[in-house]
């Protein structure tokens, strides 16, 4: 790759999604809560200006936020996911090579746009905003790590109007000079602390550090970061998602659960979600694990068990996986605890086409595969949960709280925006 790399990042993505359909949120501090209405996971600029931090718990700040006029929303991943897909579709018009890095970020290969990057990025930005309603910032540089840094600068600096390109050596040093170690992609508090202890206090110092020493003291990953900060591309765009190594589906419960049935219904629902992901990637699982957690934030009897069941033959059939998960759950479930969370891990994954049966057991039959395809298709067309196993139950007593959720404006006919 000879051209530059752009990182496109949606500004305060979840808050922007909420604002698109609820204009009364514009100009107001907006906070989006994590699953189960736990803590702040997204903030509008106004909320950031009030000093609200990521992870601030809602139950401790409820009164204060109300006083400050903060508008709070439960996370609406259905809406965010749909708007993300739209943004990524538009980005596809601006580069043949797009790596969707997360729900709100993508790397674009700008090879072929040499010398026109700025105009291209500005057009991209205004089209994404016009078509999808989502404001984005664009950082452009020779490497992914520097593109991230450029994006950070574009966002923080109003004069950039959302686009910044690291064009020269001077610009690279100037931008890195303004950043902290923890602003750099892949560097968290602990790593920054260890680097500082070694005398590497800033991104510029890291870029100039001896790569060899960094690799020996830390890791190849950090060596790559250091080289990329210098302007040496070490990470290509990943255009095809690497297949999952394992699939985990887990959630906190809305209310703590003490009885077997609701927990078992939750586990069955997690199997449904996990196995759908499994089949989408044409994989089969060899083992099914189930885990339970009590509330670690409370002074109650703690119990965090884990059980794994190996399948005789790897499978993607929801019935086989649910039976295995129920068996695992029976091995670990004990009365007398207040369970806060459960989860299912599908592991030992392999490609669905290459499963060998043995003398006693057969791989998923063509009938099983057809049934799974029909179920996935029904759930895709008519919405998640249209067809499910009876083990999931119907009451969903474990279901998490999302009291302040906006409507699923873009995916449900009965939840459309109403206009006069």
């Amino acid at each position: 790759m000879s051209g530059l790399i752009a990182l496109v990042d949606c500004n305060n993505f979840y808050a922007s999604c909420e604002r698109l359909f609820d204009p009364t949120l514009r100009g107001k501090p907006v906070v989006v809560l994590s699953n189960n209405d736990g803590c702040a996971i997204a903030r509008s600029n106004e909320a950031k200006a009030l000093g609200i931090k990521m992870g601030d718990p809602w139950h401790l700040n409820r009164a204060a936020w109300r006083r400050q006029g903060v508008r709070v929303r439960s996370s609406n991943y259905t809406l965010y996911g749909d708007l993300s897909r739209r943004v990524m579709t538009v980005l596809g018009d601006f580069s043949p090579n797009v790596e969707v890095y997360s729900i709100d970020e993508a790397f674009l290969d700008l090879t072929g746009f040499e010398g026109r990057e700025e105009a291209h990025a500005r057009q991209l930005r205004s089209r994404v905003l016009a078509w999808t309603g989502i404001p984005v910032s664009v950082g452009i540089a020779k490497t992914k790590t520097l593109a991230k840094a450029a994006n950070h600068h574009a966002k923080k600096n109003g004069a950039c109007a959302g686009v910044f390109i690291i064009k020269s050596e001077e610009a690279r040093l100037e931008i890195l000079g303004r950043l902290q170690l923890t602003d750099i992609w892949g560097i968290g508090d602990r790593l920054a602390y260890r680097l500082k202890a070694m005398g590497i206090e800033s991104p510029v110092a890291l870029a100039e550090a001896d790569a060899e020493t960094i690799r020996k003291t830390f890791s190849v990953v950090l060596e790559r970061t250091a080289r990329e900060l210098k302007g040496e591309p070490c990470q290509e765009l990943e255009l095809v998602n690497p297949p999952s190594k394992s699939i985990c589906a887990s959630r906190s419960f809305g209310a703590e659960q003490t009885a077997f049935v609701p927990v078992s219904e939750a586990v069955a629902t997690f199997v449904a979600r996990g196995s759908e992901k499994l089949r989408r990637q044409q994989l089969v699982a060899g083992t099914v694990s189930v885990f339970l957690e009590t509330n670690t934030f409370k002074a109650v009897k703690q119990y965090h068990p884990w059980a794994t069941v190996s399948l005789p033959v790897a499978s993607a059939d929801i019935r086989t996986l649910t039976t295995a998960a129920q068996n695992a759950l029976r091995m670990i479930f004990k009365q007398g605890y207040r369970y806060k969370k459960a989860g299912v891990l599908l592991d030992d994954l392999s490609a669905a086409g290459c499963v060998q049966g043995d003398f006693w057991s057969e791989p998923d039959s063509p009938q099983s595969q057809a049934l799974m395809r029909a179920m996935d298709r029904l759930n895709k067309v008519w919405g998640r949960g249209t067809v499910k196993t009876a083990s999931c139950g119907t009451r969903e007593t474990w279901r998490l709280r999302a009291d302040l959720m906006s409507r699923r404006y873009t995916t449900r006919w009965d939840e459309l925006l109403r206009v006069t």
Partner: protein
């Protein structure tokens, strides 16, 4: 039964003609088979920019937009004099006809019971998107 269900679900657009003749005369229509009509093609020009909204009022009845209809809003169309738009006026959505003449902008209703709304400098105003199609259910 299971097999049939699977096939129907795999392609919700039922073909107008689908024949396979294991023995006997081949269909004379074979060479003339077309792709079935795709209603998405008819209604959605730009999927990434298209949003559906439910019409709640009767102010656009003269334009054939009735309460209960689904207005198909395309954000990639820009507002032009005469287009039906979903506008945001002082933070509230309004489905109206966009009018612009001699530097004056106003939103016209298509129902004599509602007055036109002239946009003045002290209002916040934005066109959210343009209404490109309108879908009405005559039967459930």
């Amino acid at each position: 039964m299971e097999r049939m269900l699977v096939e129907v679900l795999c392609d919700l657009r039922a073909p107008l003609v689908a024949m396979s003749v294991p023995a006997g005369f081949p269909s004379p229509a074979e060479d003339y088979l077309d792709k079935p009509l795709d209603f998405n093609e008819l209604i959605i020009a730009n999927p990434a920019a298209t949003f559906a909204v439910r019409v709640d009022g009767d102010s656009m009845i003269g334009a054939g937009i009735h309460p209960g209809d689904i207005a198909v809003v395309d954000r990639s169309l820009s507002a032009k004099d005469g287009r039906v738009v979903l506008a945001l006026v002082d933070g509230a959505f309004a489905l109206k006809r966009f009018r612009k003449r001699n530097g004056r902008v106003w939103l016209a209703s298509e129902n004599p019971q509602y007055p036109d709304l002239v946009i003045s400098e002290d209002m916040t105003f934005e066109v959210w998107g343009c209404v490109r199609r309108c879908v009405r259910m005559l039967e459930p």
